[in-house]
Subunit: 211 residues, 2 copies
Amino acid sequence: MSATAKSAPIVLLRQAPDARHAFGAEPPVLHGAGSEVYAQGDRADRLFRVEFGAVRIHRLLADGRRQICAFYLPGEVFGFEADGVHHFFAEAVSATGLTALRGGAGAEAAHDHLGAALRSLVRAQEHLLVVGRQNAAERIAAFLLDMAERQGGLEQFDLPMSRSDIGDYLGLTIETVSRVFSKLRAQGIIRLLGLRSVEVKKPGVLRAMCE
Amino acid sequence: MSATAKSAPIVLLRQAPDARHAFGAEPPVLHGAGSEVYAQGDRADRLFRVEFGAVRIHRLLADGRRQICAFYLPGEVFGFEADGVHHFFAEAVSATGLTALRGGAGAEAAHDHLGAALRSLVRAQEHLLVVGRQNAAERIAAFLLDMAERQGGLEQFDLPMSRSDIGDYLGLTIETVSRVFSKLRAQGIIRLLGLRSVEVKKPGVLRAMCE
DNA sequence: CGAACGCTTGAGCAAATTCAAGTGCGGTGG
DNA sequence: CCACCGCACTTGAATTTGCTCAAGCGTTCG
């Protein structure tokens, strides 16, 4: 679908900004926009924490249709899979720094692993409700609120991903995404401060849209 | 939406048929069709294994729209949640026997818990692809193949749930579900041996439909 | 300056939903 | 045993929503 430049990851020169996480730290790695973090079928032997940027987890159908199952934003952990093999693709949405966490054998590591996996599971199931049962406007509203909340809850925040990514996340075409954005803007519910930056003027209205 | 008789669970008189699972076994509990296993907001302090019957995990929107996130069939484990609180409802689809597994502190229990959670996560994400990017016929095809595979891979198997449940699982109306079933039957791809029993005559065609 | 890319907007169309009757099966009671 | 009732499912017709196709806009980059 969208052409993605696959560049090799580059080890960042600076060290990890901090070591809040419990298990073994490796140096953060920079992934350019569109570069692949792992592919479906790859061995899954470690987790990643997003330091900056964003990651998309997705899968393709034979004819090119794509579903993005999840976005991971700074501070969030991804990379777990059953069977020790990845069932999805992970790509950097924009220039992204990742810290690899060795999924070691320690009980503490396993506990962190479990917590992160459970959070992802709840998120995936809630997303299923949005995609399965909400209309286009409701999906966009839920998406904007989620993005705002995950970036500190401020009324103004970034959308690191393209309209195409948003569409593939919400099960919509980019035209529909664009039309809903335009309508929300026309109604004064949001303001677009550039293509990748939004200000929510009426969060209450957005919240009401999601029921 | 669908009226569900909420009956209190009844402890089965006979003992668990076996104790294959690693952690503490309690006696199996019978839940009548439609009865609630747990509600959104309940404390999540243990896992359940389905012994017979089936369970649906779902959530409702304010106006009654429902999304079933997952079905659990015999042998499968459910009940994990982040934060120690359930984010969804669990109900018996039909008369169902459940074994409660205490989610103890043991490393072995944690490991089993993690494995079950990861399988559910992969399943939820794959379901997201179906609901987000496939049309009605493709969704039903994927559903039938999944059900067949999880019941031993035979060409003939049961659908423990109603058309309404299937619709709410796949993000379709019951009318659309019914129409697709009729079309598949008319094309000789499946045969309906009663409302809740199916025979797949052309699994290859079904598989091709999912791409 | 021109090309390319991502986004927006419009018009027509197709798929699935909504609304509205039917149909058939299982269970109950006469 | 059979008739009736209720419920889940099926089928049809009209409507709506979002998609497809197509054109235009604005920014960025060579």
